[in-house]
């Protein structure tokens, strides 16, 4: 994950400056990585709560299946929420 922020070699020609395209690419990548990390952290929290009861010596089959389903449902929920929020923002903007 560290390489996403520190590889400046491709854009820095003689002037030592990076071109806008390279900078924007790196900004987008860093934001995407942070977003994915946030998603995973929250998803792990929710799915551990829903799927793992009294923690045993390992995750049994039902727990594994539950976690897989939970991940899919969490991402579905995220998408639903994203659409709902976007709709609301557009509605609010239309009122101004």
């Amino acid at each position: 994950m560290d390489s996403f922020g520190s590889d400046f070699s491709s854009g820095a020609a003689g002037s030592g400056k990076m071109d806008s395209g390279t900078i924007m690419e790196q900004v987008k990548v860093q934001i995407a990585v942070a977003n994915a990390q946030e998603l995973l952290q929250r998803m792990t929290d929710k799915c551990f709560k829903k799927c793992v009861g009294k923690p045993g010596g390992s995750l049994d089959n039902s727990e594994q299946k539950c976690i897989a389903m939970c991940m899919d449902r969490y991402m579905d929920a995220w998408n639903t929420v994203s659409r709902a929020y976007n709709s609301r923002l557009q509605r609010e903007r239309a009122r101004i």
Partner: protein, 92 residues
């Protein structure tokens, strides 16, 4: 990034490029803020709407999630407005 604020030795085209870059970065930051809000809403609304994870999100749960987002935003607005009134009246 602090170089972009030192315009003293930059040419006109360099200044224009730096301004455009700042604008484009601001756009990405706005998108990131949107996504951060989606994370918060999903967190809260999952607790309210999802009981047991099943093989798909049924329409009742979907409806609940949508309503949850709307009502959470309404709650935020209600609190902001009322709090503003309270402060203006001198209460704290």
């Amino acid at each position: 990034m602090s170089d972009f604020n030192d315009f003293s030795s930059a040419s006109v085209s360099e200044k224009a490029e730096a301004s455009e870059l700042q604008r484009m970065i601001a756009v990405e930051q706005q998108k990131a803020q949107f996504q951060a809000q989606v994370h918060n809403f999903t967190d809260v609304c999952w607790e309210k709407c999802v009981d047991k994870p099943s093989s798909k999100l049924d329409s009742r749960t979907e409806g609940c999630l949508v309503s949850c987002v709307e009502r959470f935003i309404d709650t935020t607005l209600t609190i902001t407005n009322r709090f503003t009134q309270m402060v203006q009246k001198g209460a704290h």
